[in-house]
């Protein structure tokens, strides 16, 4: 007996979570299957909509304004700019700690590498760090955290021409943590305000951290830290530090593993729980049954094949990183439904010679019709009840465009919403 639902979403990243949420909000009985944790924890936690055109123009101030100028095959063109707006509204509702919805204009957020990048939504934790805010800035790095060198980032921001004075200092995190302590260790200490030992005395972590920063603080209006300021209670951690320092406190988004990404994932899963979505994680979908329609899919549990069946299916398994798109020496493919993925037969045409060149591999993914249904090589719909969303889609280079999260949210929303309507 198969496990049943109206809409079955395969994939638990930003696109899959949005699809499941949109489907549930549209009244569907929704089940989400996710193999492992998604790339949300590898991403910075910023929610980009569109920062640059495919031709590299930018940074764009108005992402929505640029959408109609994108190539027709771009997923944003498939769903249309109105859907992008609706989808962002759903996101704003599901992720109440995100900022940026008050304007259509992109924000420029300092990165841990010292550049700034355009983004559509940013976590509250990063909001005091915006580069268009004129307040002077002090960046604080932790000596044993090699990913972020505050003095170098400050100098880099200066070279980028930011409209404020910025300095960087390095401190040792109080408590003599081992040099390879994980970001979650810092976050936990700050969340729980745990005791740390400073010169033989036990002090609460938040106060001790602020005390380490204070001597370096020269009245800058805001102080930025690498994104380790709490997991469960980041607002409380920032408030405490801000009180001690008398300045706004923010986080500089980091590369993997990313606490802001992790917090966003938590928010979205909580929203799914509230919406009554049934969720199963941990095991892969490895096969399916059906010709023109997907009849059922199979979850593989160490060799046991567990059938799951639904009216409508959403494929949101990610791109090359999430393994929704896979490759070998000969070809590129979509592993679950074997949907067509266009690619050059010569793998030396999959990339450009320059590290930031125009890489075809970055655009690998399935092509779809206007309803986001994957198309076979001959242009026919692969399955009438299968829609694709997020990075499994082809035709856009999210890294160059800074459009990854926005495309996932918009196509996830559209796929989930339509699937639920069709299923009912």
């Amino acid at each position: 007996m198969a496990i049943e639902s109206d809409v079955l979403v395969v994939g638990g990243g930003l696109a899959g979570l949005t699809a499941a949420l949109a489907a549930a909000r549209s009244g569907g009985d929704v089940r989400l299957l996710s193999y492992k944790q998604s790339t949300l924890r590898s991403a910075s936690g910023l929610v980009d909509i569109l920062g640059y055109t495919p031709a590299g123009d930018g940074p764009l101030t108005d992402p929505y304004g640029a959408i109609p100028t994108l190539p027709e095959t771009h997923p944003y063109r498939t769903v249309g700019v109105d859907t992008v707006r609706e989808a962002m509204s759903l996101f704003d509702e599901a992720a109440p700690t995100y900022r940026g919805a008050h304007t259509d204009t992109n924000a420029l957020v300092p990165t841990h590498g010292g550049t700034v990048k355009p983004t559509g939504r940013y976590p509250a934790s990063a909001s005091a760090g915006l580069a268009s805010d004129g307040r002077d800035m002090l960046l604080v790095g932790l000596e044993s955290m090699t990913d972020f060198d505050a003095p170098r980032a400050a100098a880099h921001l200066e070279a980028a021409g930011v409209p404020f004075d910025v300095r960087g200092v390095e401190i040792q995190f109080p408590g003599d943590l081992r040099a390879d302590a994980k970001v979650t260790r810092y976050a936990k200490l700050l969340d729980t305000d745990g005791e740390v030992s400073v010169r033989g005395r036990e002090r609460p972590a938040r106060e001790a951290l602020a005390a380490r920063v204070a001597p370096h603080h020269e009245g800058e209006g805001r102080v930025g830290f690498p994104a380790v300021l709490g997991d469960d209670d980041p607002g409380g951690v920032r408030a405490a530090l801000a009180d001690h320092l008398g300045a706004a406190v923010f986080e500089v988004p980091m590369g993997p593993p990313s606490l802001p990404g992790l917090r966003l994932e938590d928010h979205l899963f909580a929203a799914l729980d509230d919406a009554g979505v049934s969720i199963e994680t941990g095991n892969p979908v490895t096969g399916f049954e059906g010709e023109d329609r997907v009849e059922q899919v199979f979850v593989d549990k160490n060799g046991a094949k567990i059938p799951n069946t639904a009216e409508q299916y959403v494929l949101a398994t990610g791109g090359l990183v999430g393994k929704g798109i896979d490759s070998d020496r000969e070809a590129v493919h979509e592993p679950i439904f074997d949907c067509h993925v266009a690619h050059a037969s010569d793998r030396y045409e999959w990339f450009d010679g320059d590290v930031f060149g125009d890489h075809p591999f970055a655009r690998f993914g399935v092509d779809t019709d206007h309803h986001l249904r994957p198309l076979a090589a001959d242009g026919d719909v692969e399955f009438e009840n299968l829609r694709a969303a997020g990075a499994v889609l082809g035709g856009y280079d999210f890294a160059a465009e800074k459009s990854g999260s926005g495309v996932s949210i918009a196509t996830g929303y559209q796929a989930g919403h339509t699937a639920a309507q069709e299923a009912s």
Partner: protein
């Protein structure tokens, strides 16, 4: 098929202990080279963000280092030592559930731990013997349960516990679980064993109008805890399955090996695995599915055995092993059966449910809440996705006790917040920690199913 027809003349009702079992060395050296497993790693560190130990203990370098990094840096030279921090891993296996790239993390940890214990740990050290005794809980439990009342007294007798803490490093903060006066296997025998179960299953089939000779038969892997400490869970399993028309056999079995993996005692684990695979694969061949009520036991049979041991039949057993409620969910209309269920006893309660870490890899961490969410007479609240912190034997070690409680703190808080004062979980050691941290009484989902479905 009657038992007499079974090709091995195997009487599943006979509570064999497996003591006489002769091990056959199929693969004399289980020295897996796991370096190729590092090929899947992209260094994204998602695993590290899931590690409950690294979060409270910066001496522990996290699963990425312990797994793919350490293995990749390893060279097959004799003096390439495994870092001793591998012993701080609690074997919760959450990293397995995290890795987006499919790195065999817990397999790497288990193998490294085994290598560390066999090559770098002194076999004369107190820690080694303490770990070995903790890991071989079944041995102690078997002896103790012959004199349960005496054992219950002695094990929690203050001076004895003080001595254990001082000499062995077993924390005296915890209370040892009580031994039941009648083990599950004794009860099962008394109820007529396999023949009795078959008869009752047939009655139920008749009652609901199923074919009387329906091919519904399962082999129950009760594990140590349901047998010696909480036979009520085992009894609930048998009654619930029989109610759906399944005949339940209870094969010869040893420890699943979970505590042994966590302590790097791979030889001990293998000895029991051979017993378990041998008896279960016979039954699987005969069309039985293997059912466990403890999620760590099902995890061992499904994942750890095939990853660590080359024993004949290991893959077949893995593919046919299920957690008890999961099995019913797949094969029966459980939501339908629960729709008009009526609970009027003590199980009509508000449960604070904790999903054991080992349930996660099996995709079972939300099962109980989703299933019981619509039950009228009960409320069930998920207390969050944190680790309970006990991780089997980890929380029993004096030097780990504080960390264990620190990890569990989040769960305790959520339990306190939840309505009601009854907890629920599938894992017996999580239950121990839940009870220890909150004083709640802890039940197994099968007990609720029994209350709802069995008259």
């Amino acid at each position: 098929m009657s038992d007499a027809e079974s090709p091995h003349e195997f009487e599943p009702a006979e509570p064999n202990t497996g003591e006489e079992f002769e091990t056959v060395e199929v693969f004399p050296e289980d020295s897996f080279d796991l370096r190729p497993g590092s090929d899947s790693c992209y260094k994204c560190s998602t695993c590290d963000t899931n590690c409950p130990v690294a979060e409270v203990d910066d001496e522990f370098p996290g699963p990425k280092f312990q797994g793919p990094e350490q293995w990749r840096l390893k060279q097959n030279e004799e003096d390439y030592e495994i870092d001793d921090s591998v012993m701080d891993c609690s074997n919760c296996m959450r990293c397995d559930n995290a890795c987006p790239a499919g790195v065999p993390l817990s397999q790497m940890h288990n193998t490294a731990r085994g290598e560390y214990v066999s090559e770098s740990m002194s076999k004369r050290s107190v820690t080694y013997w303490r770990n070995r005794i903790l890991a071989n809980y079944r041995t102690s439990a078997r002896i103790a349960s012959t004199v349960p009342r005496l054992a219950n007294f002695v094990m929690n007798f203050g001076p004895a516990r003080w001595l254990m803490e001082k000499t062995m490093g077993v924390t005296s903060e915890r209370e040892f679980p009580a031994f039941a006066t009648e083990t599950f296997r004794e009860w099962y025998s008394r109820e007529g064993g396999a023949a009795g179960s078959r008869e009752r299953a047939r009655e139920h089939r008749e009652r609901v109008g199923d074919p009387v000779d329906a091919d519904k038969k399962v082999a129950y892997f009760h594990g140590c805890y349901s047998n010696y400490n909480t036979p009520e869970v085992g009894k609930a399993m048998v009654r619930v399955f029989e109610r759906f028309g399944y005949e339940v056999v209870v094969p010869e079995q040893g420890c699943s090996g979970t505590p042994m993996f966590a302590n790097g005692m791979l030889d001990d684990a293998r000895r029991d695995a051979e017993v378990n695979i041998s008896s279960l694969s016979d039954l699987v061949d005969q069309g039985y599915d293997a059912i466990a009520s403890c999620t760590s036991c099902s995890m061992a049979l499904r994942q750890e055995y095939p990853e660590l041991f080359d024993i004949e039949g290991v893959d077949e057993v893995a593919a046919n092993t299920f957690e008890s409620v999961e099995y019913l969910r797949i094969h029966e209309d459980l939501p339908g059966a629960l729709e008009d269920a009526d609970i009027d006893d003590e199980m009509a309660a508000e449960f604070a449910y904790h999903a054991p870490c080992h349930a996660r890899n099996q995709g079972l961490d939300r099962q109980a809440v989703e299933l019981f969410g619509d039950l009228e007479a009960v409320d069930i609240e998920d207390v969050g996705d944190s680790c309970s912190g006990i991780s089997g034997t980890y929380g029993w070690k004096s030097e780990k006790y504080e960390k264990s409680m620190e990890i569990g703190e989040e769960m305790f808080e959520h339990m306190e917040h939840a309505e009601g004062d009854t907890g629920m979980t599938e894992c017996p050691t999580c239950a121990m920690q839940m009870e220890h941290g909150t004083g709640y009484e802890i039940r197994h989902p099968l007990e609720l199913l029994e209350a709802a479905l069995v008259d």
